[in-house]
Subunit: 137 residues, 2 copies
Amino acid sequence: MHNSQVSAETWSIAELATEYDVTLRTIRFYEDRGLLTPERRGTARVYHPRDKVRLGLILRGKRLGFSLDEIAKIVDMYDAEPGEEGQLVYLLDQITHRRAELEQRRRDIEETLADLAEVETRCRADLSALRSSLRKP
Amino acid sequence: MHNSQVSAETWSIAELATEYDVTLRTIRFYEDRGLLTPERRGTARVYHPRDKVRLGLILRGKRLGFSLDEIAKIVDMYDAEPGEEGQLVYLLDQITHRRAELEQRRRDIEETLADLAEVETRCRADLSALRSSLRKP
DNA sequence: TTCGTGCTTGACGCTTACGTAAACGTAAAG
DNA sequence: CTTTACGTTTACGTAAGCGTCAAGCACGAA
């Protein structure tokens, strides 16, 4: 085995695509939008752990229904440099904002799950009624 | 007051738009896609409680990041007729499916909230460090 | 009758998030 | 040397989800 040293592992675009089940096109598109900035070895892209983590964050953001623009802001928060005070205050503000959004989504999920449970109950009732009416017609 | 009888209340398209803070265009678009089926009084659309509820469900679905096609399936589950056995089994299957998706989303939210909390901690630390270094230079 | 208000139906435009070729480079394997 | 695998850029296509006119009807008030 070649890469037996755990530190400083890298991946090709195809490896990342397979691991996260996205297309190469998608990964390149995210780079186009500035969300990923892989190293270049010649013309080929080489992805470092940082890129891999970011891709994971991007896809999680997508599952949550954020747009790529919003995801860009969120992900960039994660490895922002300390910076000046105004910047930090802005960041804290963003955090508050995102948190509120996420909590709204969580409430939506709870409600939807509750609704689904209701539909399921009704459904099972209908089903057993249907079946018992068939057993003794 | 005109509509003093609570039962069988109806709304105009503008009323619904105001209440849910969407545009008329959006509501008509949902109708176009078969998600809403208001009554017609002449040419004007008249929305019944059922339509209003559905609009609420649609918007909740949107906040959760579902596509309109997916939302259509979900919402239609809610007021599906009992139907035949195959239909009911299909419905239960859909419910299982949606539930799994929603639970994944909930996990995503928990993780993101945890990440945000971490960023916030780091951020506050940086901020206080910055300020204390300014107070005693 | 004319005005304003609210509603209607097209129909074209735009952005997002990719899909889908087309055409080419590079490097190892047969 | 040719094939195969893997990568690249460029660029047009598309589906979703509306925005934004344009043009017109219907109806009560002035």
